[in-house]
Symmetry: C2
Subunit: 412 residues, 2 copies
């Protein structure tokens, strides 16, 4: 018990010390990719990696890898996440997975444990995509899904080039992107959703990641006086927008399972109390872990929009904003996570991720999976992001067990 | 026929000439109350009144009255409307009723017709309420519904006082407000709605004016990630707002009759594609010509909001923004209008006004009613506001017949 308490304290101490870099008055962290705060966070990470005896490699997109040698020269087992944040970030999103990777190394060092395969702790560049597009950039380039040069040429709102910012901050590395091809990749992350907390569970074994369909819908009706225009002569863009919101909600409830549907953005024009809206612009966010089901949701929405337009005498235009297919993680790795949680007596479940993560990019080149720990009230991208210390420690312990099991696997 | 064609031309000519004052590049009129454009419009009106032999009186709130003497000294019959516009005004709202009053006088003069009672053509100050609150100010003060001093002390967004602007433009008159107490008041106006056009009718005999209930509703839920938050754990302010929009629409259709219900303004926070809205602010505009029915609509809405809040785990606050009881016009005057339209062979119907008009204020102190002519596509407060020349002429003819009938009535 004494040793476990020490372990927990070491992990928390590192998370909190790192959270001071870019700390905001609200208790959160603002460490947008390749700003000075991000550079300081990287410098701290590299210093800790070296203290733990890891060999540090930085690749040409700025991904940082800390390598712990194995007994054999087989492909390494990799863990990691990201240390950049959104502007109103919390102290756990991303950073937790990287700090837990360091914690696993610290525990193995302390206990003198060697693994057959090398272990790698990774911090991927620009996961959040706040300043430079696309998001999950570092892992995507590592997996060969996006050309390096195009990523380096990405420009922020002030016209600054990502490649120049890498040079400026000292993280334009020498290693070729994708040079490390892991035996397996496991990412530990806070859930950023309310499911584990609501069900009183400690560990989520993430088996897949939802496909995403974003559309922008524009309804064009007729602006008219709210008092003088009888209901049957209206072409009310505002009503149509509301009907669409209700439709997608009912669609999600009807489909059930992992289906979610959200209208998060909606604006009316002219947006006046006594004028029927001439125009409504709204977004629809549909997600499902099953691609055919996601396509069915898209088709049902399209049919509804056509029927609504005809019925209400308005025109409705929809255009795609983003579209990603679902990702299925490696079932064997998911089983390893479940087994590790069970062995530690931790309540767990299989689940889906509704958010994007670096692990989905790594899944393109090696078996990959994720471990989730609870997020209090599901709050994330917010200074109020919180996971209890004991839950953070439990996640790190499961990560350690899974990494050790994978790292002791033989070739083939 | 030749004389009628001449009559029509005279009315149109005056409307179009007056529409040049404050004309906008879009073909509309911007003549906000007590601006220089409004002063020019008033000067032109007064000049035309004098040309027609009317005795011009201006009262202390700037209302302009042109008096045509009668054979007897009985209470006069009054018509009129307003000549101020909104910023994006058309060429007919208000001004049509005043110009048609002049046209009636011109025709009576030309034909040498005398009436028993005097006739008065009125232009009321600041009907639109764009710059100074409240709207329908001149007629409201005339009817004793608002203290003169308070109206004079009304201040615009730039800090200018209405009383000072009356002085500056030369329309701070001497006559006491409310000095002229009419035998009857009849206002001719464009419908500003689509009903007459949709039904192919020339004349609306306006029997009442809808009561208005405006509320602002604020829904407070919980902002969460659109991907990671299962449907059953959401407290989605955006969905609740949409459900309210759909509810009020269905309420209006269920109540039927003159019931209208509109959500014209709706904003979400944070209004992002992948974030469940934490907060929604919307307005609800309910109108009905029957006060108990309007109150029933308000009660049903309140009950729905309470049930929705409980069901969805959100808080919903509603606060009144404006509340006016319905106005019932004088049934005998409405009958006069119908009779005049029938005698001229013009298709007509009884109807309600969904917008506010000076006639509703005059109804406080004398029998009052309104005549509507069609508005193309129901468009108003817009440069595209349009009524066909023949329809404008028909309205003026009915106005003349009604005014003559009323002005030949004896005392008691």
């Amino acid at each position: 018990m004494a040793r476990e308490a020490q372990d927990d304290a070491a992990l928390l101490q590192r998370i909190h010390a790192h959270g001071e870099i870019g700390a905001t008055a609200q208790g959160g962290v603002c460490r947008i990719a390749l700003t000075d705060a991000d550079r300081q966070g990287r410098d701290q990470l590299v210093a800790w990696m070296r203290e733990l005896g890891l060999a540090v490699h930085v690749d040409r997109i700025g991904n940082i890898f800390g390598l712990r040698a194995g007994l054999a020269d087989d492909a390494p087992v990799m863990t990691g996440s990201h240390i950049d944040t959104v502007a109103t970030g919390g102290r756990y999103d991303g950073i937790y997975g990287v700090m837990a990777g360091l914690e696993v190394v610290r525990r193995l060092n302390e206990r003198g444990t060697r693994t057959r395969r090398p272990l790698v702790v990774a911090a991927f560049t620009n996961e959040e995509g706040v300043r430079f597009m696309p998001d999950m950039m570092g892992s995507l380039v590592h997996a060969g899904g996006y050309p390096l040069q195009q990523a380096l040429d990405s420009v922020d709102a002030d016209g600054r080039r990502l490649g120049d910012e890498l040079q400026r901050t000292g993280y334009a590395g020498e290693m070729a992107c994708g040079e490390i091809r892991p035996h397996a990749f496991v990412e530990l992350h806070i859930e950023q959703g309310p499911v584990l907390e609501a069900e009183g569970l400690a560990i989520g074994a993430v088996q897949d990641l939802q496909g995403i369909s974003w559309q922008e819908i524009v309804v064009t009706g007729q602006s008219n006086h709210a008092g003088t225009t009888p209901m049957h002569l209206r072409r009310d863009a505002g009503y149509c927008a509301a009907a669409i919101v209700v439709f997608v909600r009912e669609l999600a409830l009807r489909f059930g399972g992992s289906q979610v549907a959200t209208v998060g953005a909606l604006t009316l024009q002219p947006n006046l109390v006594n004028v029927i809206a001439a125009r409504a612009t709204l977004t629809v966010d549909l997600r499902h872990t099953d691609e055919p089901t996601l396509q069915r949701a898209e088709r049902e929405l399209a049919a509804y929009l056509a029927a609504l337009a005809a019925q209400q005498g308005v025109t409705i235009e929809a255009r795609p904003l983003a579209r990603f297919e679902p990702v299925r993680f490696d079932p064997r790795l998911v089983g390893c996570i479940e087994a590790a949680a069970s062995a530690r007596g931790l309540a767990h479940r299989r689940m889906s991720s509704g958010a994007g993560h670096d692990a989905q990019m790594m899944a393109r080149i090696c078996p990959a999976a994720m471990i989730f720990v609870p997020s209090q009230a599901g709050i994330s991208h917010n200074p109020r992001e919180h996971t209890a210390p004991a839950q953070l420690a439990q996640g790190a312990t499961v990560l350690m067990d899974v990494l050790c099991a994978l790292a002791n696997e033989g070739p083939g």
